[in-house]
């Protein structure tokens, strides 16, 4: 078949389906290849072809070019071949239940965006991680297929409910595959939303997508499954690489953990001290203070009230902007400087906000160490203005805990009490002299 278009081959070429095998000519040189999707950052009139050699190139299709489609393609298929169908549904009893929410750990290369996209099918997850069940049955339950920046506070109870259901169905442990960007928020949220946990809830992610041979997804997942099977743990944790090596993983408490690097495998750190433990060569090694399992049954300790906010103070932040930001909110967490300070020009609006019953809580943007109002005059002024100091809570954890506390009471006094009280070991009363490892 011939598709020669003397006036402008580009018009016809751009309408051809992906995977079409074509021969394009400018009169001098002929290119033969398979049409692959136009990269979103690719130039105008650029046809992207996969050549027989496997290389992709872009050809600028000028008026006067000719082309024809070829019957058969020798090039590799553009799309993945279909993978074997889903798993047979099995009982959760004794299995580890893997809840998938999307994220890099369950993403693959997407031609159209030029980036990675989450996979939707359970079978696709298994295709990536065929070794998943090496140490026992794993049941996969898809919850979302979103990158984690698209996971919002209203999604946290949904995930928590899946955990409750899994444990009620007899799961030995629960693993949640999640994008890493907001994994720390979700970990903190589940820490507060889940009560009477009979076993571990392990959040895990990947910093490298699973279509790469070097992906950390598989080794993180294996370590997470090992932690999920550990009978000594009854709390929400995050398991990720402890360093650049594929043989050591850190177990972080869900309320202590923060993503501290945009790309490293060991991006997740426990703030203010060591993590709860490590997985070394498949063995779970726990330190002191791990919360043991409850007798159960687990329950969802909701709801959350999303009318709370998190505001990072900076020298140019005016009182007007901060006040506007907090309009309509029942509470706000400030990430203040140093020991927990904001410019003294903020005192006025804070005083009137707290007088109206709004919660204004203070954390430190240093991320390590306590927010402490007693050392400097500004702190003492803020304390008098009604600011609630939240010690060494991470700003994100404080924000999540605020939404949870707001969901539990309409009374600001009660909300303050809930915020102050240690719920799941989120406060560290002792900061090791050695510092984080």
């Amino acid at each position: 078949m011939s598709g020669a278009d003397r006036s402008d081959a580009w018009v016809a070429l751009r309408s051809l389906p992906m995977g079409e095998h074509v021969e394009v000519s400018d009169g001098e040189r002929t290119w033969t290849g398979t049409i692959v999707p136009h990269h979103e950052l690719s130039g105008d009139r650029i046809l992207q072809l996969k050549l027989e050699s496997g290389y992709n190139i872009g050809i600028r299709i000028e008026p006067g070019f000719t082309f024809r489609t070829l019957a058969e393609s020798n090039a590799p298929p553009v799309r993945g071949a279909p993978v074997p169908g889903g798993t047979v549904p099995r009982s959760a009893t004794g299995s580890v239940v893997l809840l998938t929410t999307g994220g890099t750990i369950a993403s693959r290369v997407d031609y159209e965006t030029g980036g990675v996209r989450p996979v939707k099918e359970e079978s696709e997850v298994l295709a990536f991680y065929p070794e998943l069940e090496a140490s026992g049955a794993v049941r996969i339950v898809p919850v979302f297929d979103r990158l984690s920046e698209d996971i919002a506070p209203e999604d946290w109870p949904t995930i928590a409910q899946h955990v409750v259901t899994a444990y009620r169905d007899g799961a030995a442990g629960v693993v949640i595959a999640h994008g890493t960007d907001t994994l720390g928020f979700t970990a903190a949220a589940l820490s507060f939303l889940l009560a009477d946990l009979p076993g571990p809830v392990v959040l895990v992610g990947a910093q490298r997508s699973p279509d790469r041979p070097s992906s950390d997804g598989a080794s993180n997942l294996r370590a997470a499954v090992a932690v999920a099977r550990d009978p000594r743990i009854g709390e929400v944790v995050v398991v990720m690489h402890a360093g650049p090596s594929d043989d050591r993983f850190a177990i972080h408490r869900g309320t202590w953990v923060r993503k501290m690097h945009s790309s490293r495998r060991d991006a997740f750190h426990s703030q203010n001290g060591p993590p709860l433990g490590y997985v070394v060569d498949g063995r779970v090694e726990l330190g002191a203070g791990v919360r043991p399992p409850a007798a159960g049954p687990p329950r969802l300790d909701g709801p959350m009230d999303a009318r709370g906010g998190l505001l990072w103070f900076y020298p140019g932040l005016t009182a007007d902007r901060a006040e506007t930001f907090s309009k309509g909110m029942r509470g706000i967490v400030l990430a203040g400087t140093g020991l927990g300070h904001v410019g003294s020009w903020h005192l006025t609006w804070i005083r009137s906000a707290t007088a109206r019953g709004m919660i204004v809580a203070m954390t430190t943007q240093c991320l390590e160490g306590n927010a402490d109002p007693y050392v400097y005059a500004t702190g003492r002024e803020l304390l008098r203005a009604g600011v609630l100091y939240l010690g060494d809570l991470l700003p994100e954890t404080a924000y999540v805990k605020l939404l949870w506390a707001l969901g539990h009471s309409a009374d600001p006094k009660r909300v303050e009490e809930l915020l102050r009280a240690d719920r799941v070991g989120e406060f560290r009363d002792r900061h090791d002299a050695g510092g984080p490892p």
């Binding site: 650029i46 290389y55 872009g58 590799p76 993945g80 790469r212 041979p213 598989a218």
Partner: protein, 619 residues
């Protein structure tokens, strides 16, 4: 025979996808361990080369140092392509009359041998359809690619391979020729010419390992084999001719197997461990052996595992390479038994156990791990089976002795998919025009000019180019040194220098060479002393005076020479009296040995003739 080349030249532009220097370093500040997994390309089919590498189940240790950042550790996405490296690749494309593509897309080529922390090599096709003329013959240039170099192996064991990350990410220009090369000599000449063209950009790294060649060789009826990573240009001929010979032997074996109707090779091994309980020496000795002995029957292979008469290639070695590639010491096969501590009775017993017939052969494998021994049997069986079809497509490693060794199966196309972390690069016309205006003089034009300007022969200029010495030649000649002396120095004397023990490399500066030639011209020492002076510099002599002292060339005065000549003539007065002028030759030899290059030979001869004449006026 048909052969094509892929020339890989490292660039000195800084790394391709990060801001690290393109320099090697022996400092190690951090090491870490990774395991690479199988991953598919765009389709889910797994490439045979990937499958093979992944089946080896290695873990990898990486050593990072001052030439590394998070990008080489695969802990940070690649930065945009280094623009200077891309300019250099485009310049090379223009020099080779190749046609740049309109938009360059960086691809990931899956390589899970651990040499890339990411598990893939980033590579981009820059230009196609070039040409190259060498010695009156035209060769096609199929492609010019820009890619990142891999990490280099720095050690390892059965279970772990260690890589140094300093080399990872250094830009490589890859130039692929068409399969128009028909001999080893042609292959070498084409490689030299391409090397000269790339170096003319003056943005390349120098020294051993900075230019590497892959040789694709096939013979009529054979299959393409890739000899990967040849660093020694002088061995190219040997590799190419040797591969042709190997393929020819394997085709002969295939024909014989077909004549014998050899059936497909089964993969089921028979355990024969107890049959070797009384072996006391060799690889099967019961005391040193730590695992089972497995035997594999090869139907129809009798006498085909050893070298055919007059050749050095044998199928037995190919089978052994398969076992070695997963960490075994090797194999034993029936064509080399009895031997290695195994006697005829053992052979007989194995043959009975396997039900061997007259035309059958067998292979014995042992290893501490039964699982690994079984994997070795599977590999050996597969390779033996391929012998019935001819020559397996494979990648082979070049060895320093000019032979090659199995490395892995030839990769297919499946292993490339787009590097989505790097946006495509549009090659704008303005950029190509700017580069075209600043192209270096073509190597052919430069050679013609050197012949014309300096009155050198074409052969000498070719040798200068092959020795990568055109730049120093022109510099020294511009300093006023004699072109002939400079050419001899660069083509013969420097490359041929006798290196003192412990010294492996000698790259004298142009200034040092200039001082050396100037001193020779001024008569500080005879030109015969240049090789000794170079050795002295190679050994670390700091300046000319030090080199003169070390080489013993300094300090022979005219008076000392005259004294020496007089002494020799005096001691040989009777011979001179008897033989007259014919005494000159033997005496000249004696004197020159004593002079050791410290004075000019012509001067010595003149003094000696005069002294002989004085001693025997009749002579």
């Amino acid at each position: 025979m048909k052969a094509g080349l892929e020339v890989h030249q490292q660039l000195a532009t800084g790394k391709l996808f990060c801001a690290c220097p393109s320099e090697l370093s022996d400092d190690v500040t951090l090491s870490f361990v990774r395991r690479l997994r199988r991953a598919s390309g765009e389709g889910l089919a797994i490439d045979p080369a990937v499958e093979y590498q992944a089946s080896r189940g290695f873990s990898y240790r990486y050593e990072a140092g001052p030439s590394n950042c998070l990008v080489e550790m695969d802990e940070e996405p690649p930065h945009p392509v280094n623009p200077t490296a891309l300019d250099t690749a485009l310049q090379v494309a223009l020099l080779l009359h190749a046609r740049p593509v309109d938009e360059i897309e960086v691809m990931r080529k899956i390589v899970v041998d651990g040499s890339n922390t990411s598990g893939f090599q980033r590579t981009a096709l820059v230009a196609v359809d070039g040409r190259l003329d060498v010695a009156g013959k035209r060769y096609s240039i199929l492609s010019v690619c820009l890619e990142e170099d891999a990490a280099r192996k720095s050690g390892g064991s059965d279970a772990e391979v260690i890589y140094r990350l300093d080399r990872l990410g250094i830009p490589l220009i890859e130039i692929a020729t068409g399969p128009e090369i028909t001999s080893g000599a042609e292959a070498r000449a084409v490689a030299e010419e391409i090397g000269a063209i790339v170096r003319s950009t003056r943005r390349v790294r120098r020294g051993l390992g900075t230019i590497r060649e892959d040789l694709n060789v096939s013979i009529e009826g054979g299959h393409r084999t890739e000899i990967k990573g040849v660093q020694e240009l002088r061995l190219i001929e040997q590799y190419v001719e040797g591969e042709a010979a190997r393929q020819s032997v394997l085709l002969g074996i295939r024909d014989e197997l077909r004549r014998r109707n050899a059936p497909p090779v089964g993969t089921v091994a028979t355990e024969v461990t107890d049959g070797f309980a009384d072996v006391t020496s060799g690889p099967l000795a019961a005391a040193s052996r730590k695992g089972p002995v497995l035997a594999l029957r090869l139907r129809g292979f009798a006498d085909l595992l050893r070298s055919p008469p007059g050749t050095d290639e044998r199928l037995g070695r190919e089978l052994a390479e398969q076992a070695r590639s997963i960490g075994l010491r090797g194999i034993l096969h029936s064509d080399e038994l009895p031997g290695y501590g195994v006697d005829a009775a053992h052979v007989e017993a194995v043959a009975r156990r396997l039900g061997l017939e007259r035309e059958d052969a067998f292979v014995l494998v042992t290893d501490g791990s039964r699982e690994r021994a079984e994997r070795a049997i599977a590999r050996v069986a597969e390779r033996a089976d391929r012998a019935r079809e001819g020559i397996p497509g494979e990648t082979r490693d070049p060895l320093p002795d000019g032979r090659t060794r199995f490395s892995r199966p030839l990769p297919g196309r499946e292993r490339m998919y787009p590097e989505t972390d790097v946006p495509p690069i549009s090659v704008e016309r303005a950029r190509l025009e700017r580069l075209a205006e600043s192209l270096p003089e073509s190597t052919a034009a430069r050679r013609a000019r050197l012949v014309r300007e300096y009155g050198l022969s074409e052969e000498i200029v070719r040798q200068l180019a092959a020795a990568d010495a055109l730049d120093p030649f022109e510099t020294l000649a511009s300093y006023g040194r004699s072109p002939g002396a400079v050419a001899r120095l660069l083509v013969q004397e420097v490359p041929g220098v006798a290196l003192p023990p412990g010294i492996v490399e000698f790259e004298p500066s142009v200034d040092a060479l200039d001082a050396l030639l100037a001193a020779a011209e001024a008569g500080r020492f005879a030109k015969e002393g240049i090789p000794n002076m170079l050795s002295a510099f190679a050994g670390g002599a700091k300046d000319l005076e030090a080199a003169l002292t070390v080489s013993g060339l300094g300090g022979m005065s005219r008076e000392e020479l005259e004294g020496l000549v007089e002494k020799v003539v005096r001691e040989n007065a009777r011979m001179i009296a008897a033989r007259g002028g014919a005494a000159f030759s033997p005496l000249m030899g004696d004197v020159m040995r004593a002079v050791r290059g410290r004075r000019d030979g012509g001067e010595v001869a003149k003094l000696l003739r005069e002294a002989i004449a004085r001693s025997n006026p009749a002579a």
